[in-house]
Amino acid sequence: MKSIKTWILVVLASSLLVACGQGGGGAGSKKSKTLDNTKKAGFVKCGVSQGLPGFSNADASGNWTGIDVDVCRAVAAAVLGDADKVKYTPLSAKERFTALTSGEVDVLSRNTTWTLSRDADIGLTFVGVNFYDGQGFMVRKNSGINSVNDFKDGISACTNTGTTTELNMRDFFNSKNIKYEPIAFEKADEVVQAYDAGRCDTYTTDKSGLAAQRTKLSAPDDHKVLPETISKEPLGPVVRQGDSVWEDIVRWSLNVMIEAEEYGVNSSNASSLKDSENPAIKRLVGAEGELGAAFGLDNEWSLRIIEQVGNYGEIYKKHIADTNILPNRGPNQLWTKGGILYVPPAR
């Protein structure tokens, strides 16, 4: 079924390419075609996952939540003044880049790993990192496996296709000289079911994903995530290459959320901090400088983001910590508090 969807996407992609004609892209110009189109449409076109709790997940009534969703909400708050003006398109791992390059979505915020080849080769630009992740393994508690060093020849591993996971898995097992059986499904739900049925001995994906998917198993407490992390998975939002203004808008929408946490600005105190002593805080809430003008927005764009969406700490707490996916922030803590979240200053 999914494959058919991809084909449709490709057909759509080619027809869109035709429809856009030579005008697409607008490389190098000061004006942003994506920004104009977004303002005209009245919503941000956002590509998300098909359901990953904590990152992008729809509830029963179709409301999307998660830290990936909040990046799109931040862009909508900055550009359109209302964080709810987002149109979400759930995409499989396979479809996501085609959907972005063809213009079906303008921001891809879908737990996507930033790699050289993706950044350089296929017409995409990664604008930042909103979650530092790493690939891990989940096994049954009674399996007697306590570390990746306990894996032996013949182990079978379930995972998703079309992700960096498949490549990391190979790198890992090759480096350990272990023969393994890779079973790769298109959708995460099928991976969970197959692993649950005992088709494979271990389930490997990003650790945040493992934590989230574990909740879907029939007996979550019978499974555990091994301590080792076998790869770097910096996840972040992606935009099309060639529209640098739009790229900047998305990048700085993410950055101000992290910087807001750094300066203690949150959704409830933001507007009252307009007459703060600290010029950095005043810039964040739009009381000083002309930061928005640089990409054609008004001066309160960042204030709206913080008020309507929140700072990074609030978002993390709401979607990842309070939902018990990863209560410990680990590397996703501010650099001032021992983590690696460090963004360039908004000035």
Binding site: G21, S117, S143, I145, T161, G162, L167, P182, I183
Partner: protein
Amino acid sequence: MNFKNFKFDVSNKNKDLIPQVLTVLFIVLVIIYFTINAQNNMGNRGISFGFGFLSQESSFDIAFSLIDYDGSYSYARAFLVGLLNTILVSVIGIFFATILGVTVGISRLSQNYLISKAAEWYVEIFRNIPLILQIFFWYFAALRALPLTIDSINFYDISFLNVKGWYVPRFIWTNFSLFFNSIIAAVILIFFLSKYARKQRDEFGKQIPIFYMSLGILFGLPLLTFLIGGVSLSFQIPELTQLSKTIYVYQGGVTIIPELISLALALSMYTATFIAENVRAGILGVNKGQKEAAASIGLTKGQILKLVVMPQALRIIIPPTTNQYLNLTKNSSLAAAIAYPDIVLVFAGTALMQTGRAIEIISITMLTYLSLSLSISVFMNWYNKKMAIKEK
């Protein structure tokens, strides 16, 4: 009058020709426009176009492959692995769908109420449920029903069935080529023998027990290679290995993965319903008088079916059954849903993702399915022609 006719013919030809040429020209122009435009836009967006990636290292592994493959091979090789897996499941599916379809089709016409009703229910149930659901059903039902490795279903200590797959012994041959050639020789021999037998029957009315003789040659000749040709065969029986406290796996034999089993099962069960209806239509399409005439000249029931009914029924059965074979082959692309590494999962899935070359990969995949389908069509058309009425 003649002249007038001639003139009329020419203008008529032109009338036919001009719109045809214009249509072809229009289609070609549209294709050129699409291609150039796509290229321009891809260029504007910094996407390069080309097939150079095919020779790059794929760096992903595939669980099930008929040829040597691992991540150090190229994308082209990964494509081949996927293609062979697609062909494998299609061939298995077509084989079982045909057997099951013919059986069910004939059963529906049975005088026995229970048999014909059972066949009817089977057809009505399985052709009216979407295939993707049936695939999921067989896959997850199989996974849930099969035991864990340690409690495998044991077939005489040589073959084992469990949730991770069906483990069968691996054949280890010596002098395999001699054995293989003997089979080919046997087939050629049988071909000439049956030709000779037909001639004997047509010219002298002599009946030669061709079936038993062929059987004898088919088994006897390869057997000889064992006895005097130095061919030998040994089996490597899968052995249970413990990987950790509760993880076991069979190693050493050949593994038939559950994805292949359930996909082949779902495809053949589904397609068999349509073939069964074709068979039923074909048999019903043969005039009743033919059977009665055949019976009146003393043919047995089996001979009537084989010599009178089937040759005529096949003419009705083959064309729609070709469609079903094509459908089955194309439907095998649903494999991706249950992790069977066919061309869609491996090439239009993982490879597409890793390289991001959507347009190139999807076009290759489409062309591949097109070629597969056309090959089946060509073969079935040949067979259909062979079976068609030869007017003398």
